[in-house]
Symmetry: D2
Subunit: 142 residues, 4 copies
């Protein structure tokens, strides 16, 4: 798969996704084994303490993970994930999730995702384990 | 804290939360160290493969975790969490997240959350580590 | 599989294991989906700060997890695990690791393991994801 | 702290550690926020299936993590960790654990550890959350 195809796949998946659609997530860069996306924390993403909900931060990281682990062209899903919350993010903060493949073994892959503000403040650290479960994502690629 | 207060706190937090508000999450039961909530997977919670987004399942589990770890009356937040995805959930599935305290040590607490369909199909298993970071959640209780 | 067989399998696995053999781990109870083992923290299990090494606590939890997830009679391995450290354990502390199945879906299983002192002090909370990868563990059972 | 001090701290901690001492772990490189160590899987590190015990792999990763998160000169411990097992390691395999800081926020730090054979086969992926809990590790440095 080329990096151009990796981007096409992410765009294709994004068309089908409905979770977080109203957050206007931007896909900044996708290539094989890598994805970087960004979103601005808005008033629909808050927990009971007025900061970004752990579920919103997880969703963003998981989304970058999905684009990165599907970038190889085969249908791949998250099997497990862990996340550590380092600094609360607040409404108006622009946050970036950057996913990178760290390991691959057969149908399994391990990815790290760093979630930071655009100013470089560390928000959350995410690690995901992926599993390839199907064939080509886009027919035209087979 | 009484179990009645635990429920009051959950209701109070829910009023402030905006994440997942449009999903109509039901708080079924809250008591000290325990919370059970439910939601029906809808068309706004899907990933690129048409099943419940990992971020939606995490959000639901995290929400049950938040009600359970705040049930003792002190402001408590998630520090880290891990989740394993066992079976995909589909639109229309009614899913229940049940959080229980398994350990407490000083300001730290460990909670498990089981996410299942109402028919008992295991969807996801979540473990969260909480940290008490502030004083009483509701003034009337101090 | 009966609970008696679950115990036989654990004893059988223990015979082959070499990791931690010199710690004299006791298998206290094993039944389907459950295992409880105990060990006394000794001078060979310490980190650079003189408390029980995270690797020793993980090993104990992982061992209880192994006995619990293999208790159904089929060859099963750990796929991923997470652990939270709540209270340091010290040389001489008697600690118990209690593993329980919380979820099963096809060849995957999710297990929680609580690590406590015999006095009930919470030491660590562990969650493991298992995968069944082979056939019967003991020939006599096929 | 200089990189030379980071190495001194690791050597100092190693002197006090007893866990895994008989495995002859080599400290290959330590600098601020980074540590790489290596060990050969031996007959004392096996699980019931004859491959490297998850507890042995976790211990190695946790050790690299400890050297990396203490490299800044302040007493720092593991708070939580997660590990994914990708390929079984076998007796005689030379394996390397390489830890890197990915995030820091106040007293918290997130580290990734890659565990690979010297031939580059991915064995396990580990993520740890650290917490600084005390002052200078070595008096001479204050």
């Amino acid at each position: 798969m080329s990096d151009a195809n990796a981007r096409m796949i992410a765009d294709h998946l994004k068309t089908s996704e409905t979770m977080g659609r109203e957050w206007a997530i931007d896909i900044e860069e996708v290539r094989e084994g890598y994805a970087r996306i960004a979103v601005t924390v808005n008033d629909q993403m808050l927990n009971g303490y007025g900061t970004a909900h752990g579920g919103a931060l997880f969703t963003l990281a998981d989304q970058a993970f999905a684009y990165a682990c599907n970038s190889y062209g085969l249908q791949t899903v998250a099997q497990s994930a862990s996340i550590s919350f380092l600094t609360p993010a607040r409404p108006g903060d622009r946050i970036v999730a950057e996913a990178e493949a760290v390991m691959k073994s057969g149908r399994s892959g391990a990815f790290n995702v760093a979630v930071r503000t655009v100013d470089g403040i560390d928000i959350a650290s995410f690690q995901g384990l992926s599993r390839t479960v199907g064939g080509a994502i886009m027919d035209a690629e087979t």
